[in-house]
Amino acid sequence: MHDAIRKGDFWAGLFLAALGAFIVEESMGWIYLGEEGPGAGFFPRWYGIAMVLLSLLMVAGAVFKGPPATRSRAVAWGEIRRAMGCWAALVVCIALLKVLGFLIAFSLLGWFLIAVMFRQPQKIALGVSVGGSLGFYLLFSFGLDLSLPGGMLF
């Protein structure tokens, strides 16, 4: 059981079972079959039930099957940390959009990825991030007449 819990499949299955249960529970609040035919709850109830059953099947598979197959190697936390670092930077960048605007927020995102995550020299990091920001501004704002997210500063 301990091995099974470590498997991503087990947790993913539990999460999806909970999501399926939520879908079914929500669909109970909507009309299932009315005078004019199926209501808003008809379709979600069926795929919700299917989701619960399939995810429980996946959980059972993770619990009762043997050790992970050869291709599922041990979790490389270093790799995941790098990916999550990139994601967190994107989240912060989007959170800052309303304050800093796209030009500055994106420059900061680019600088973080290049200077901090890829450990490139500051000259390159600043050049690519600020250059990229200005390039986007020229191409999309001027060239294609599309509006970029604006902030209080810019």
Binding site: G8, D9, A12, L19, G20, I23, W30, I31, L33, G34, E36, G37, P38, G39, A40, F42, F43, P44, Y47, A50, M51, L54, S55, L57, M58, S72, A76, E79, I80, R82, A83, M84, C86, W87, L90, V91, C93, I94, L97, K98, F102, F106, L109, G110, L113, I114, M117, F118, Q120, V128, S129, G132, S133, F136, F140, L144, L146, S147, L148, P149
Partner: protein, 503 residues
């Protein structure tokens, strides 16, 4: 309208300066995307889709389709030079292409790859032009139950071939259906799964999900490692890129094999270009006089799969344009694009939008010629793109993703959703959940629910309508068989073997 008149109208559209320019931009971008490992056509098309909203739809579609088939030309470059496929359909090209490059025949491998792609790609367009109109007429007899059954069959095929685990593929598809249900139900005006957010009343924009899953998810996956691959020296000069006359003779059957298998596989939802290329490679090896040499640098081993993955494009557009049923993540995005521009792909699409259909077909002839020219003399230039460092590329992809989403809706809330779906896309990659079924579930979810509810309205709630009519009964039976067959271990072993080869 007969095929000839239609094609003439199409060329009138596709040969206009604007359409020619967009076709060139599309195939050029496609080649670049194909060359760069880690950036696929679905991500690129999803990112660029919002930027096309202000464009004339036919020109925009010509450009997006150019990216789709252009990527298949470019995909072979890295397979041959680096042993790293630029996109999944070029995996099998590594087997003989890389070996040819190691023996100093990289030029011939790249050249035959471009020529096979051109021949088979053009065959695919001819077949699309001949098959699509009669199929559209045939499907005019379809009503809601037939459509529902057809969509179930399409999803079943995609699920069947999407990943090692059928359960995961099904779950991925169900999550797509759930996302499609979000927002206001058009039949009853009930708000579903909006979590009290007014921004969700209109549902979640397809663009946000597609860019999050494909572009942001892909960048996150690529950020895990930053080790560059080693490139082999590229021969200089056009003469070194031209295969010899003997090479061309050796590839005669490979051209035919790749063209026919590629197109037929393309018509089937879910099968896709990767399976087409593997199948044609297998057939080529099976009928070869020297099968033992395959894998050591045989030129037919490059021509057959490269041809097949290009002919598949024409095949994949048949169900997309005539039935409104996409067979892969990329064609699902193209379907969403058509719907967003106000078109209705389906049996009446050719009649109602002849300029779009025939313009697209004609542009594919032109695009294939452009690609042949781009990929023979300029392959060296494209190969230089491989020197572009990841640290410069990934922030730019994130930037285009953000701009794409913001342009589509003008909402920072959607940018938040982009982060959520980026994380979902990354988690799905880590946990080996296929993303294709989710995107297809999302694209077809609405139409599928509508077709089911209309069918049940027709029958006063009696589900028997789905199996009392012959076409839905047959389609649902096939879908059922497809989903039950993997439960038998022998069949599942074959299915997993096919998918393993893909990965």
């Amino acid at each position: 309208m007969d095929v000839f008149n239609g094609l003439m109208q199409g060329f009138a559209v596709a040969l206009s300066p604007g359409a020619l320019a967009l076709c060139f931009v599309g195939v050029l971008l496609g080649t670049v995307v194909g060359v760069l490992p880690g950036l696929g056509p679905p991500a690129t098309i999803a990112m660029l889709l919002p930027l096309t909203f202000k464009m004339e739809p036919t020109g925009a579609m010509i450009m997006l389709a150019g990216i789709y088939y252009g990527a298949k030309y470019g995909g072979s470059t890295t397979s041959i030079l680096l042993n790293v496929p630029g996109e999944s359909a070029s995996v099998v090209t590594c087997l003989d292409g890389y070996q040819m490059a190691r023996k100093g025949r990289a030029g011939a491998a790249l050249g035959i790859s471009a020529i096979a792609s051109f021949i088979a790609g053009s065959f695919g367009v001819v077949a699309l032009m001949l098959v699509a109109p009669p199929l559209a007429k045939l499907s005019l007899a379809f009503s809601s139950p037939e459509y529902f059954a057809l969509m179930v069959l399409g999803l079943a095929m995609v699920v069947l071939l999407a990943g090692e685990s059928l359960t995961k593929a099904l779950l991925s598809m169900l999550v797509g259906l759930w996302i499609a249900s979000m927002g206001t139900d058009l039949f009853s005006a009930t708000s579903r799964f909006t979590f009290g957010q007014t921004s969700l009343l209109g549902g979640i924009d397809f663009v946000v999900v597609a860019i999050g899953l494909f572009a942001v998810g892909e960048v996150m996956a690529n950020m895990e490692s930053s080790e560059p691959a080693q490139m082999l020296p590229l021969p200089k000069g056009l003469r070194n890129l031209m295969p010899t006359w003997q090479d061309m003779k050796d590839c005669r059957f490979a051209f035919v094999n790749g063209s026919v298998i590629g197109f037929l596989i393309g018509v089937l939802p879910g099968a896709g270009s990767t399976i087409a290329s593997f199948l044609s490679y297998g057939v080529e090896k099976a009928v070869s006089r020297h099968p033992e040499k395959f894998g050591t640098g045989v030129i037919e081993g490059v021509a057959a799969p490269e041809g097949a993955n290009n002919a598949e494009t024409g095949g994949a557009l048949v169900p997309l344009l005539t039935l409104g049923i996409p067979g892969s993540g990329t064609t699902a995005i193209l379907l969403a694009a058509l719907v967003l521009w106000g078109f209705k792909p389906g049996p009446l699409f050719i009649e109602e939008s002849p300029a779009m259909f025939w313009g697209l077909v004609a542009s594919m002839y032109i695009g294939n010629v452009m690609l042949l020219i781009l990929n023979l003399p300029l392959v060296g230039v494209f190969a230089q793109l491989l020197k572009l460092p990841g640290y410069a590329m990934y922030p730019l992809i994130l930037g285009v993703s953000m701009i794409g989403v913001y342009t589509a809706s003008g909402s920072v809330f959607d940018l938040g959703l982009l982060c959520v779906f980026g994380l979902v896309g990354y988690a799905m990659r880590r946990l080996h959940f296929p993303t294709g079924p989710m995107v297809l579930g999302l694209v077809l979810g609405d139409a599928m629910e509508k077709a089911l509810r209309q069918s049940l309205m027709m029958s006063q709630g009696d589900l028997a309508i789905l199996w009392q009519r012959p076409i839905p009964a047959a389609l649902l039976a096939i879908a059922g068989i497809l989903l039950v067959v993997p439960l038998f271990k022998k069949f599942n072993a074959v299915r997993v073997q096919v998918i393993d080869q893909e990965g």
